[in-house]
């Protein structure tokens, strides 16, 4: 049982609890969808640990989850860009491109490994999307108090996470080869633990800001 409670799962569970508390009565469907997404994140994480305990590979699970992750984050970015007259066709084009790269990678590695190249491409795109969002809010004449502006903190979390994970995804094979001797954990695992804590802390703060704004 103890194996299920790692830094990752605890962080995700805390974030899900905050999300449920803060966004349960939210009227915006994009914000409410975070509840389902974080529930899926927790479910995938627990299933991944369970599969690992059974000495079965769990990369397939994370590979399939990549599609949900990409759709969720892309749709949220689309929601943010929408008020700047961003066309829906761009969202569909990106999702189409993502699915093509994803399908091609799965086909080339014969479904035998995590789609890390697709994840690397996705990370780069999300980093660019975050930077583009910063540019839009800086150019916007309307002043926002960014310290408590929920979308800004969601994007901050995304930037930290995908900026950090870009390197891990690029050096995926290289990093998986060895373990830190002192901790007995892979470099990738440690890095993702740090990134997850940052991501979900930013998101939790964004949910709290959203809740306070609504009330």
């Amino acid at each position: 049982m103890q194996a299920f409670f790692t830094v990752n799962t605890i962080t995700e569970l805390i974030c899900l609890s905050i999300c449920l508390f803060c966004l349960f009565r939210d009227k915006d469907i994009y914000w409410r969808s975070f509840m389902i997404y974080l529930f899926l994140v927790c479910a995938v994480e627990f299933t991944g640990i369970y599969l690992r305990l059974l000495h079965k590979s769990n990369y397939e699970l994370y590979t399939y989850f990549l599609v949900i992750e990409c759709t969720m984050v892309s749709c949220f970015f689309y929601r943010l860009y929408r008020k700047y007259h961003f066309k829906p066709s761009r969202l569909f084009s990106w999702l189409g491109l993502f699915m093509s790269i994803y399908g091609l990678e799965l086909y080339t590695n014969h479904f035998s490994n995590f789609a890390y190249k697709t994840a690397a491409v996705m990370s780069v795109v999300f980093v660019v999307a975050s930077l583009y969002y910063y540019m839009l809010i800086l150019r916007d004449e309307y002043f926002r108090k960014l310290e408590s502006y929920p979308p800004f903190w969601i994007v901050n979390g995304i930037l930290f996470f995908y900026f950090g994970s870009t390197a891990c995804n690029v050096f995926f094979d290289y990093l998986m080869q060895d373990k830190i001797t002192s901790l007995g954990l892979s470099v990738r695992y440690v890095t993702f633990n740090i990134l997850n804590v940052i991501l979900y802390s930013c998101w939790s703060y964004a949910f709290i800001c959203r809740y306070r704004q609504r009330n």
Partner: protein, 261 residues
């Protein structure tokens, strides 16, 4: 490819450091830029407010100038003509029946001259304000009391006018005149209470009537409360507050407060 633990730790440190420090700097920069944007917006707002205040002052000055011209025209031209008429009437010698009619006409002319002088004085705001806002309001109310339609009460607890703030007093006096005019035209009130007070660096004016009242939000929605909205805008331009408390069927209370002192 085999890599040593030392190299891996170094890789983690470098990767984590670069990929975490870079967004921190970026977000920090965005915060700074945003603060700069806020300051710029504040400055813009202040400039806009100053411009609007200057515009309001000019408008008031132009209005005052026009009223002064009309007042002196009334006093000097029409007043003189009426005086001449009165003198002519008093110089006519006629029989008993005609004398009575001439005397009546002469009295009417005298009354017209008095009313005209009072009206001319009232129109000349700067002249009225010279003796203080309280005196100007009292003078205005004297004019209203004569109609016998309203029971008017005026309470003044203002220590004394500040000459540097004559402009503000004049604007407040014009606001008061407009509020009073609104009560006469729309409120169907029988009683009007006015209080003028000065405390904590604020000049406070309260006007309360027992008229039919209204719903402020409804007036705004129907674009019916433009006069009141303008009064509110003019008060806020002087960094003051304008508060309306109205209950349909009971009456309205308007509180105006402007910085003074």
């Amino acid at each position: 490819m085999q890599i040593s633990s030392k190299e891996l730790v170094l890789l983690i440190t470098i990767t984590t450091f670069i990929f975490l420090i870079a967004p921190i700097f970026l977000i920090g920069y965005i915060f700074l830029y945003n603060k700069k944007k806020a300051r710029h917006a504040e400055e813009k707002e202040t400039l806009k407010k100053t411009f609007e205040l200057e515009l309001l002052k000019s408008q008031v000055e132009v209005q005052e100038h026009i009223m002064q011209t009309i007042a002196s025209d009334l006093h000097d031209n029409i007043g003189q003509l009426l005086s001449l008429t009165s003198m002519t009437l008093s110089s006519i010698k006629a029989d008993h029946l005609r004398e009575e009619k001439i005397n009546t006409a002469s009295e009417l002319t005298q009354r017209a001259i008095r009313e005209l002088r009072q009206l001319s004085k009232m129109m000349n705001g700067q002249e009225l304000i010279k003796k203080g806002l309280g005196t100007a309001i009292a003078y205005e109310l004297e004019w209203l009391k004569r109609g016998l339609t309203y029971e008017v009460r005026f309470k003044e607890t203002m220590p004394g006018p500040i000459p540097e703030h004559a402009d503000k007093e004049l604007i407040l006096f014009r606001l008061f005149q407009e509020i009073l005019s609104n009560i006469i035209r729309h409120a169907k009130a029988t009683r009007i209470d006015i209080e003028l007070d000065q405390k904590d660096g604020q000049l406070l004016l309260m006007v309360r009537d027992n008229g039919k009242g209204f719903i402020w939000e409804e007036k705004l929605r129907n674009s019916d409360g433009l006069g009141l909205f303008n009064l509110q805008k003019r008060t806020s331009m002087m960094d003051g507050t304008f508060h309306i408390d109205s209950i349909p069927g009971t009456g309205t209370e308007i509180n105006v407060s402007i910085p003074y002192g």
